[in-house]
């Protein structure tokens, strides 16, 4: 199950965590981007290379920027000042909370799946 923080209409406090519904096919890329930004800011090309290195997935440019614009719109990442044409992005507090909730949920599913596999099919 995937989760995404939603900004409350009233203000800019970290929002409640609600099921991801609005990202559609960009949910996967959004998760990879958030995970990549967890250890510091990166611009588009650096994000592509980092994600390719840790996930083995090369995000196409259009997909990457569609996900970036949605994440920025939701307040999960923010653009930083740039002195050249490449603009770095960093995680916001809400983005960090969202990523943590999402990865926790994924870990629960992974742990459960591995336990069931071990009990039915034996240890790996």
């Amino acid at each position: 199950m995937m989760f995404m923080a939603k900004e409350t209409p009233q203000g800019d406090e970290p929002g409640r965590i609600e099921p991801l519904g609005t990202f559609g096919r960009y949910a996967g890329p959004a998760t990879l981007i958030l995970a990549s930004l967890a250890d510091g800011s990166k611009h588009g090309y650096a994000l592509t290379k980092d994600i390719e290195a840790f996930a083995g997935v090369r995000l196409a440019p259009g997909t990457l920027y569609e996900a970036l614009s949605r994440l920025e719109g939701q307040g999960l990442i923010e653009a930083m000042e740039s002195h050249d044409r490449r603009r770095p992005y960093r995680l916001t507090a809400m983005g960090a909370a969202t990523l943590r909730a999402h990865l926790d949920a994924q870990r629960r599913v992974a742990d459960l799946g591995l336990r069931r596999l071990a009990s039915s099919w034996g240890p790996a």
Binding site: E7, T8, P9, Q10, G21, T22, F23, G24, H43, G44, Y45, T48, A60, P61, G62, T63, L64, Y65, E66, L68, S69, R70, G73, Q74, G75, S82, D84, R85, R86, R87
Partner: protein, 333 residues
């Protein structure tokens, strides 16, 4: 990266054209940098081109409220309702053409299949529902526009309102004129024996004359009176004026959150109506029989109409979902 190969920069610039101006102003430079790097690493990539094209189209659809981008709840409802209005215009253009064909057929004789009979009853009932919904939806918007005009706050509303009224007036006058001129309905002594009054059937028929398979047969088309041909060509433009005017009025009327929630509720009911109408149309096209055996035969244009209506309904469902999402956001305020 500072030494941009000219060819890669040109290709990146071409790819950027898929995106709208606002998007390019915000992301254009950095996105071009990424594209140039990507082109340098993978000079020939169809996947990249397709990916950029799809993402660019999605970016162009953001103002329609259909894409799921985070926007203000009130803007979301307004954009979704405006999109729904446009989709409903397309749906009804084809739907009314089908319905009027059946209504006119029934002026002369009763349908000879149960499917056509049931379809006609369902489609006619839905048409009544659409009429009631149109009135219910229009009243608060018209009231809001009138209030703003009275307070001299009509900035941004005058042009869309004029567009709407010009389109509506042209369609009504033209449809009345060409509907009265056709002997198959209102003016015929045998008329008024069907489910739908002859005048209404003639009006619907004339207003959708442009939805015709005659466009594929220029020889037959050339035998039409010039005035009728001109009407067939111009009436869709009037319909576009009407729908565009209505959509822009919805977006600019600054409706209250309560009104927006009310309109979003009506949009839900509209979806059920569209589904019922399409079911009726399907029943007729599938079971009503092909070939010119009787007045109720379904033709190629009706098959094409079904496809267009189905697509319009699917996209409308998305618009209604997004309107509901925005409506829930308004409730949290």
């Amino acid at each position: 990266m500072s030494e941009m190969p000219e060819a890669a920069a040109r290709r990146a610039a071409r790819l950027l054209r898929w995106y709208p101006r606002d998007w390019r102003a915000r992301y254009g430079d950095e996105f071009a940098e990424l594209l140039i790097a990507d082109i340098g690493e993978r000079p020939k990539s169809r996947r990249r081109h397709a990916d950029v094209a799809i993402s660019g189209i999605v970016a162009r659809l953001i103002p329609t409220g259909l894409t799921g981008h985070a926007i203000d709840p009130a803007d979301q409802v307004r954009a979704s309702l405006a999109s729904l209005g446009c989709l409903l215009g397309v749906f009804l253009s084809f739907g009314m053409a089908m319905w009027s064909q059946l209504a006119i057929g029934w002026q002369w004789s009763e349908p000879d299949t149960t499917a056509t009979f049931a379809a006609m009853v369902l489609m006619s009932g839905t048409m009544l529902l659409f009429s009631a919904l149109a009135v219910l939806a229009a009243v608060p918007i018209a009231w809001r526009v009138a209030t703003r005009v009275a307070r001299r706050q009509s900035h941004g509303l005058v042009l869309p309102s004029l567009l709407f009224f010009a389109g509506a007036a042209f369609l009504v006058i033209g449809s009345r004129h060409f509907g009265n001129g056709w002997p198959g309905t209102g003016g015929h002594p045998w008329a008024h024996q069907g489910l739908v009054p002859g005048g209404v059937a003639a009006f619907a028929w004339a207003s959708t004359l442009s939805v015709s398979s005659y466009w594929a047969h220029p020889g037959a088309l050339s035998s039409f009176p010039a005035a009728e041909l001109a009407w067939m060509a111009v009436s869709p433009v009037a319909m576009i004026f009407l729908v565009t005017g209505a959509a822009r009025t919805i977006r600019r009327a600054d409706l209250s959150p309560g009104t927006l929630r009310y309109e979003a509720f009506l949009a839900h009911v509209t979806a059920f109506g569209m589904l019922a109408f399409l079911s009726g149309a399907c029943a007729w096209v599938v079971n009503g029989g092909f070939g010119p055996r009787n007045l109720f035969h379904a033709g190629t244009i009706d098959m094409a109409g079904l496809i267009v209506m189905a697509v319009a309904l699917i996209v409308s469902y998305r618009a209604i979902q997004r309107a509901r999402h925005g409506s829930l956001g308004l409730l949290e305020r």
